[in-house]
Symmetry: C2
Subunit: 213 residues, 2 copies
DNA sequence: ACCTGAACACCGTTCAAGT
DNA sequence: ACCTGAACACCGTTCAAGT
């Protein structure tokens, strides 16, 4: 059967579901497809490219947001959007990590991020809604990634399972709700930057590429 | 000069500051120390172990929280704690990513996480304060990681620099403040779990380790 | 157009053997 | 106790050459 981009992504998803991100090497993927590693590079630019495709497919399972005359709705919609994203991420092993890496490499707006922005409280300016959606995305990815690696550590017998999944879900929702409440009150309490002696020791000198000896 | 654990961490920090996480391989580190790669494993258990040490050192530069008779204080303290953590992370290239990875591998409580918990609004239960501190940590690590990779993409000429650092800082603070506001109102609006048809397609089958053919 | 074979320049980790 | 030398089992990517 002829190799194709879609076929490659399918096989990669299978590896991801069964064994996780650590097992997803280009060489192992090629072996699973019965092909030489170099063959993959005809259909896919790089591994980073592949990870972006995988991230899109993982998030594609989230229910489409029915755009009601472009109006931003109440808090419950945003909460549901966050839960839908979490469901999509947890359906694949290391799903949150894959999406995190893909988003870091390709910082374009992820589809559910747009949905999040559109469901945020309507008292925010567009810029604030974008900041809020990004912030919530960071929380979701971080929280779910922690859940998943924790779960894998337990399966590996390294950590003890002290918490039920209901408990984990409650913690997740607690964070989402807290954040959404805060965003709802954002307009009344504007963000004034106070003392920032903390600024700009960030510009670290960049020398050459790669240190040798 | 005799090799030591501290010496290794020093050299690793130097590589990190100058060239970032991608250049921090055990082999490159050994070369910089004028030693064979295997020698490192006498002083350090693994690369993961080393990353945890690095994460601790990166965060060690945050000002110590002067514990005032154990009382949780107001929102300004938590906001300052978040800013201090951001400053520490941005002082090292890929600092946020290093701490993220280390925290994923070794999910023990990071020092500043404790400080965050102690500075959260006092209306929360201890469990809620822990959830809140975790959530805020996820936001901080995600946001700063995005800042840093974005900055590196700009230095590499891949992306355009459309935003000033003040703008970035404002966005960061916006997220922190929103979250803290939401936590402040957490007790009055308890987190009730509504419909969760989303639960538990998370248990993905685990077969053997490593797929072959 | 699509894939193989083979190479290039790397990884983390282990471990007998040396000192 | 501490380190070398050398190996093991991998990586991502490229590219002439084949079909």
């Amino acid at each position: 059967m002829a190799l194709s981009r879609e076929h490659i992504v399918d096989a990669a998803m299978t590896i991801l579901r069964s064994y996780g991100l650590a097992s997803l090497s280009m060489r192992n993927l090629a072996k699973n497809l019965g092909v030489q590693p170099g063959a993959l590079y005809w259909h896919v630019k790089s591994k980073q490219d592949l990870l972006v495709l995988l991230a899109d497919r993982i998030l594609a399972t989230t229910p489409a947001w029915t755009d009601q005359v472009g109006a931003r709705s109440d808090r419950a919609d945003a909460r549901q959007a966050a839960l839908d994203i979490r469901t999509a991420l947890t359906s694949v092993k290391d799903g949150a990590e894959v999406v995190s890496v893909a988003q870091a490499l390709n910082p374009r707006q992820l589809a559910p991020l747009q949905r999040l922005r559109d469901t945020l409280p309507s008292n925010l300016t567009l810029r604030q809604a974008e900041w809020g959606a990004r912030a919530l995305t960071h929380y979701i990815l971080g929280a779910v990634a922690e859940e998943q690696t924790h779960a894998e550590l337990i399966l590996a017998g390294v950590a003890a399972s002290e918490e039920s999944t209901a408990y984990t879900t409650e913690a997740f929702i607690f964070g989402v709700d807290a954040f959404l409440r805060g965003l709802g009150a954002a307009a009344s309490a504007p963000c004034t930057v106070i003392d920032l002696a903390t600024e700009d020791q960030r510009a670290v000198p960049r020398k050459q590429l790669h240190a040798d000896s």
